[in-house]
């Protein structure tokens, strides 16, 4: 006998029955949530193993072969999650990650808000100007780092043009290190802002749903 999970339906019915102010909307679809947490996990694996490969910690005698495997496997997973997110964005025609001119125009106002020169952030799309800039830069840099990583993984067997383009293995290593530093500098910022700006967005990354506040009565 098939047992249906009876929790969700009445729960949402209850929610919709005016128990909260405003409307409950789907803010983060399932594939976005899968991508977010999957990518977060695999990127953490890449960054930590990459740092260990870059500068082995004195207190941590670990098999380098294993560390390299963790690095490569995490990278393949992360690439897979990115592919998933891109496919999802194409299917849903979701442009929320692509920065728009309007985002750039509003960026100074957003900065003014973060610097306490304004009391409220400017109106934004799903993501604000800062978020869309950082998220799209992550995507771009992740893809660049993956390309560099793959070309060093294949040792010039494939993607030789990448080696030639950047001017050698050492420079390739250096660019990847700098990209790592960019990630390490911006990820804490992302975590900090997501925990202090709007907790409801953060929970939507788990539940998917979020309360949309009622339109302001004027």
């Amino acid at each position: 006998m098939k047992k249906k999970n009876n929790l969700r339906k009445p729960f949402f019915e209850e929610l919709q029955q005016g128990n909260v102010e405003g409307e409950i909307i789907l803010f983060q679809p399932l594939w976005v949530r899968i991508f977010h947490w999957g990518f977060a996990l695999s990127l953490t694996g890449i960054l930590l193993s990459g740092l260990e490969l870059h500068k082995p910690a004195k207190f941590f005698a670990v098999s380098y072969g294993d560390m390299f495997k963790i690095h490569v496997i995490s990278s393949w997973f992360a690439l897979g999650f990115v592919a998933l997110r891109c496919a999802d964005a194409i299917l849903r025609r979701d442009q929320s990650l692509i920065p728009k001119l309007r985002d750039l125009k509003l960026f100074p106002k957003l900065l003014a808000y973060y610097l306490f020169l304004r009391t409220a952030p400017p109106p934004n799309r799903k993501y604000n100007g800062g978020q869309s800039l950082v998220y799209s830069s992550w995507l771009l840099l992740f893809l660049i780092a993956s390309l560099l990583g793959l070309s060093s993984y294949w040792q010039g067997e494939h993607l030789i043009w990448v080696w030639r383009l950047v001017g050698g293995f050492q420079r390739l290593r250096w660019i990847k290190f700098m990209i790592t530093i960019y990630f390490l500098a911006t990820i804490p910022l992302h975590i900090y802002l997501s925990m202090t700006e709007n907790l409801s967005h953060l929970q939507a990354m788990v539940s998917g749903y979020e309360r949309k506040p009622p339109p302001k009565k004027s």
Binding site: K3, K4, N5, N6, L7, P10, F11, E14, L15, G18, N19, V20, E21, H54, K55, P56, K58, F60, A61, V62, S63, Y64, G65, M67, Y114, F116, Q155, G156, I160, W163, R164, G167, G168, F169, Q170, R171, R173, W174, F177, M178, I181, L184, A185, T186, P188, L189, Y192, T196, E197, N198, L199, S200, H201, R211
Partner: protein, 333 residues
């Protein structure tokens, strides 16, 4: 052989070949025509040998170039000959002789990629030979200096079998096909994560700047000075002398990321840049959090973004196989 912007180190390295001996090569193996370090004649008599080879044996001779191509002042930082009352620059002579050669071989890292001569800030605007001969393939035998076997091996391959299989930077695969790291006898230390903390120790030298993982050459199996030893064998890291970008991209030799040149001639270590960026971000986040708490922004945002329902749900477990249902008589608040 034409010598341009060079220290002649590759000639000295080549003299140390064993076996065949250098005298063997000159007298029995190759028809060695023109070489500043080895010529018996001098001046125009010696130079005439080069010009004769050029005009009488087109597409039959091999041009060997040692040293970087110096471009500053249209090449006039580097004069290599005196012909009909005119000083001839290195780039002009290499181009002229190179275009009619059967093969062009650049020996040493300077001729292959610019090498130390092209090091920052490169006042002579030096490059490798390939840059002045874009229309034809230059075979690079890099190294600072190039190993005598790499030079002789390439020349013999050209003489006996034609062009060897080349890798991504135009170097013969038979010598530059594998990284130092892949053949290093200390690789098991690396794989186990056991690293030397100082130069002179017997473990893997990765942490003290070994460039073996990014350097393509067969030093671990060929070794130097009549196969006696090689850098890692005497406990100093590989400095990556065969790679493009050497020495700038490989220095400092004791750390593995290159320093970043700043305008004004100073350099800053990559790791310091990284620590600076991370320190700045951490300080900014902590400062922002403190200011937000002080101004009450965090408190306001948390209150705004969390909402309390008009009444609370209470859930009851209705079946043992984990099915939940909202209680019919949920208490109104």
């Amino acid at each position: 052989m034409i010598e341009t912007g060079t220290c002649t180190g590759d000639s000295i390295s080549f003299d140390n070949i064993w076996t065949p001996t250098f005298s063997d090569i000159l007298s029995n193996i190759l028809d060695w025509r023109y070489d500043w370090s080895m010529n018996q004649a001098q001046g125009s008599a010696a130079y005439q040998v080069l010009l004769d080879t050029y005009s009488k044996l087109p597409n039959e001779y091999i041009l060997i170039v040692q040293g970087s191509m110096i471009h500053s002042d249209s090449g006039h930082y580097d004069h290599v000959a005196y012909e009909q009352g005119k000083l001839i620059t290195g780039i002009d002579l290499v181009r002229r002789i190179g275009l009619k050669a059967k093969y062009v071989v650049a020996i040493g890292s300077c001729a292959a990629f610019g090498g130390p001569v092209a090091g920052y800030p490169n006042p002579t605007r030096s490059t490798g030979v390939q840059d002045v001969l874009p229309e034809r393939r230059v075979i690079n035998v890099s190294g600072c200096p190039a190993h005598p076997d790499w030079i002789m091996g390439t020349l013999l391959h050209l003489a006996l079998y034609g062009e060897p299989e080349l890798e991504k930077y135009g170097r013969p695969k038979m010598f530059y096909g594998e990284t130092i790291h892949n053949r290093c006898p200390r690789r098991y230390y690396y794989d186990q994560g056991i690293f030397a903390t100082d130069i002179g120790q017997k473990e893997c030298l990765y942490r003290v700047g070994c460039k073996g993982p990014v350097t393509y050459a067969d030093c671990p199996i060929r070794r130097w000075n009549d196969r006696l030893n090689w850098p890692i064998g005497c406990n100093t890291p590989c400095i990556g002398c065969t790679e493009p970008g050497y020495p700038d991209l490989m220095s400092p030799f004791t750390v593995h990321s290159p320093d970043i040149p700043l305008p004004g001639g100073t350099k800053i270590a990559t790791d310091s840049v990284a620590l600076g960026v991370l320190g700045f971000t951490s300080a900014a986040i902590i400062g922002h959090a403190a200011a937000s708490l002080y101004k009450g922004r965090i408190q306001r945002n948390l209150l705004k973004s969390t909402v309390r329902g008009k009444h609370r749900f209470s859930l009851t477990k209705v079946k043992t196989f984990h099915t939940y249902r909202v209680k019919k008589n949920a208490k109104k608040e």
